[in-house]
Structures are given as C-alpha cells and as structure tokens.
C-alpha cells in the first residue's frame, strides 16, 4: 500500500492504484485518477461515477451490463466515456474496489 497526497488530501492506494478506503474519495481525487487514465471528466462521467458508488454502497456487484441498463449511458456510451477497460477505469476513478469477475 502506498500513500499519496492529492491537493491537500492524503489517500491510501493498493498496488493497482485503487483507493483502499472509498470514503477518502472526492471529486478532486476523481479528477486526478482520470488524468492518469487520460480522461477529462464531464458531467456525464460523474453521473456514471455516482451510480457506481451508489451500487457499491448497496453491496451490488457491478457489471458492464448493469451500467448499460442504468439509464445513464448504454454500453457503447460507457466505452466512449472510459475507453478500452470501462468498468476497471471507472471503478478506480469512482474510488471503489476493482470489480471482480466471478467465474
């Protein structure tokens, strides 16, 4: 685990640079993570991030399919917002754990 400081906030990251404590998240943290992924956050991005955080709090396992049915974006739109690995990138930017795929 590493500690980094973003603006005035000190946060804890795991080895894949996901927040280890999702309560340390705020919009500044999101913006910083997004920058690392080469993404500039828009309002639409934040709608998705808030959806993910809400589902995470409810203890729901999140899948790309669920985001596609959220009414916020379809799957195509989700890929456009967070290219290549939308669920992994958006989860990291939302400050929630890396999604696990159960097989």
């Amino acid at each position: 685990m590493t500690q980094v400081t973003i603006a005035t906030l000190q946060i804890d990251l795991n080895e894949e640079r996901y927040l280890t404590d999702s309560s340390q998240w705020n919009e500044e943290v999101a913006a910083e993570f997004a920058k690392e992924e080469g993404i500039e956050l828009t309002e639409k991005h934040f709608e998705v991030l808030n959806f993910l955080r809400q589902k995470h709090e409810e203890g729901v396992d999140i899948t790309i399919r669920k985001v596609g049915k959220s009414g916020i974006v379809d799957i195509k739109g989700f890929y456009a917002l967070f290219p290549k690995k939308p669920l992994k990138k958006s989860s990291r930017i939302a400050g929630i754990p890396k999604p696990t795929s159960c097989v």
Binding site: D61, T63, I64, R65, K66, I75, K76, F78, Y79, P83, K84, K85, K88, T100, S101, C102, V103
Partner: protein
C-alpha cells in the same frame, strides 16, 4: 401429504430428487419433478463432440432413468412460480401446490442477445458447442474445413463451465495438429476477462499453455455485434476481428419463467443466499445449480457440492431447526489440455486455484494446476461416475467443502 416440488430435472434437480426421496417418508411426502424435456444431456461431453471424440449417443440418456422410484414426473413447460400462493403454474394453466420448492431450471445460451450472432452464418460458419445441435454441426464442419482463422469468443460473464472455452482452444490446437493442418489454422481467443482465466495463478498457468500452443489471447474484448457480410466480430471498443470460423460462447441466461415469476436478477438468475441456498424472496423456496446468482462457477461440480448443503438445510427447514450447512462456493474442474493430457483446479469463494495434489494430499492421483495424463483419464472416467454415482445422489469420496490439505500456497 406434504409436497416437495422440484423445477428442473437436470443435474441439480435429479441429484436433489434422489437425496430427498431417501430421507422423506413416502407416506408423508410427495416429491414431484417438472421438466419440459425428456432427454438428459451429459453437458461436459458436448466439448468432445466437435472433435469426433464423442458422438451424440455418448451424451444422451432418458431423464426418467435417473429419477428415483416414488417420484411424480410432469413433463411440461412452466408458466410461473406464484411464491405468495405456494404454487407453480404450468403452461396449460394447471396449478401445482408445494410446501417446499427447489428451483433447478439451469442456464442456457441466449445468442439472440448479441446482434448478428444468430443470423445468416449461424451454424454455417458461426457455431456454439453448448447445445447438442451446435456441437454436432461443428463436428460436421470441422471434418471438411480447409483451415483459416478460427476465432473463439466469450460474449459475457457468467457462462457455464468457465474452463470449457479454454479446453476447446486446446483441443482445436491438438485436432488440427494431428490432421497435419495446424499451419493452416490461426487460433485466436477473445475474452472479456483480463487474461485467459479470472483467478491469478490459474490464469498465469493457462495463459502460459495458450502461448505454448500458439493461441493468441485478446483480453478485455467485449463483443458488441457480428458483421455477417464482412465476417467480422466487433467489440464495444471498436476492435474488428475477421474470422473464417467463429466459435461463440453466447450470453448465458436463466429460464424466462424466472422473469415471469418476478424472481429475476440480471439475466434471469435467481437471487439466492450464497451460503444457505435459500431464495432471497421466499423462505420455503431454495435454488441450486446454474439457476442461482451465486458468485461461483456455473458447473456440474458446483451443483453436486451445493446438493450436499441444500440436502442438509432443507431437512433442517422441514424439521424446524436452524440451517446447519453453509456452501463455500466449492468448484472442481478437470481441464483438458489436448494430446491426452489434462489439468485440474479446485477452488471456492475465497481461495483461488492453487497447485498441489487431489483428492489425497501428497498422493493425488490427480495434480492441481499441472498437466498430466492422469488428469485426462480422470475426466474420461468422470462420465461413468456422472451417470452411475453423481446424479443418483450417491456418496463420492470428495468433500463438498473445499479443503486446503494437499494445496501449496
């Protein structure tokens, strides 16, 4: 008379019928099974059919042969479960009452979920091997195929028998090598996962085998549609891969009856307590096998381990005691790696597949996460065990709980 109703007479439903019939007195308990089909398929055998190793007759038997005496069987489609009324409506409107209900209606492929998948090229140059029709059609196609680009695609998670697509790739490599045409066949494996498999150590081991066998793995590939004209598979990330033969593992879904009953989670799987196997909606409704939404493999081994837990918990519920058994997500999968060898993985909710020996620590005879001839024989032997021991609900020398004994970590 009290009534136990089992929906689905596949692997899980048949095991449960056999276990419960032994324990519940025939004077006090009716056991009824409802299933729309009369044929029991040995689904693990489908994988062998495209490569001519098994034929259709090797994987089919009448379902009725495996139901215990003293069970009623209704061959009918199901309209819906009415949980509040403790009854199930059949397709013809007849209501079947129950005191306890077991949902074991499984999962099936839903190719219509991916645009272009089940269109002009379906079973012409696009195949599945999760149905008897797909597996036998692919067998005929491979007999005369001249070679080209063979693309394997997993549409999305979860899907039945998570290792089967890997085994398919390994078998294809061996099959075309043995036919002296491996140089004419390019094999590409496209998957929404981040590697060959999900669990880190198994993914590394199996990914290594893919490299050795010259099978290209394209991870993070989430299929959006198939272009039938150009013969391309296109991802949401706008990657287009041309194919000559596409072998698809389509989206898997639970039965549409689950949705009509208002019990559906995503993809028509039933919300189920991952430890007790009780449904989240009704206390007297239990769920087993591929029909659940549990975060473990959809596989026969899982259904078999779950059956031990459900058996114990259902008896506890009937006798008015608290649940005593807890399912740990145990899965155990033989993986064919081609050329007469195989490997084996054993894992649960919390423990990823680890190397070691199975089932006897240090002795085996099966090796975990390593390739051996013995593992391959284990898989072949398993078909006999399946028909004669497993679905009849007889004891097996393997614990339903995963054990760390014999594992190296």
């Amino acid at each position: 008379m009290k009534r136990l109703l089992i929906l689905g007479g596949g692997t899980a439903g048949t095991i449960m019928a056999n276990k419960m019939r032994k324990d519940l007195s025939r004077d006090e308990w009716d056991i009824t099974i409802v299933d729309q089909y009369k044929t029991h398929y040995y689904q693990p055998g489908f994988l062998f059919i495209p490569f001519g190793m098994y034929k259709k007759q090797d994987v089919v038997k009448p379902k009725g042969d495996f139901f215990p005496t003293g069970t009623k069987v209704i061959y009918s489609k199901i309209d819906r479960i009415e949980g509040e009324k403790n009854q199930v409506l059949l397709d013809n409107g007849v209501a079947v009452k129950y005191d306890y209900l077991i949902i074991a209606t499984g999962a099936k492929i839903a190719p219509e979920e991916t645009p272009g998948l089940k269109e002009n090229l379906w079973h012409k140059s696009i195949y599945d091997f999760y149905t008897i029709e797909g597996a036998t059609a692919l067998s005929s196609y491979f007999k005369t195929w001249k070679g080209g680009h063979l693309v394997i695609n997993i549409a999305e998670l979860p899907y039945k028998c998570p290792v089967a697509p890997l085994e398919f790739a390994f078998f294809a490599d061996a099959f075309f090598t043995e036919r002296g045409m491996r140089d004419k066949v390019k094999i590409t494996y496209t998957t929404p996962l981040s590697g060959a498999f999900t669990k880190p150590r198994a993914s590394q081991m199996l990914g290594g085998l893919m490299d050795e066998k010259n099978i290209e793995v394209i991870p993070e590939f989430y299929v959006e549609r198939i272009d039938n004209e150009k013969k391309e598979i296109i991802s949401y990330g706008d990657e287009a891969i041309p194919f000559d033969c596409l072998v698809s593992i389509p989206t898997n879904m639970g039965d549409s009856m689950i949705e009509r009953s208002g019990l559906a989670e995503d993809l028509n799987f039933v919300a189920t307590d991952k430890n007790t196997l009780q449904s989240k909606a009704f206390d007297n409704v239990f769920v087993i096998g591929d029909a659940t939404n549990l975060p473990t493999s959809k596989a026969g081994s899982v259904a078999h381990f779950e059956a031990d837990v459900l058996h114990e918990n259902l008896i506890a519920a009937i006798e008015g005691r608290p649940f005593t058994a807890s399912f740990d997500g145990h899965a155990n999968c033989y993986i064919e790696t081609g050329f007469g060898k195989g490997t084996l993985i054993d894992f649960n909710y919390d423990t990823e597949p680890l190397p070691g020996s199975f089932p006897f620590p240090g002795l085996g005879p099966f090796g975990l996460l390593k390739e051996s001839r013995m593992n391959h024989y284990g898989k072949l032997l398993f078909r006999w065990i399946y028909w004669h021991i497993l679905i009849k609900g007889r004891e097996m020398p393997i614990s339903s709980q995963m054990t760390m004994a014999g594992k190296k970590f």
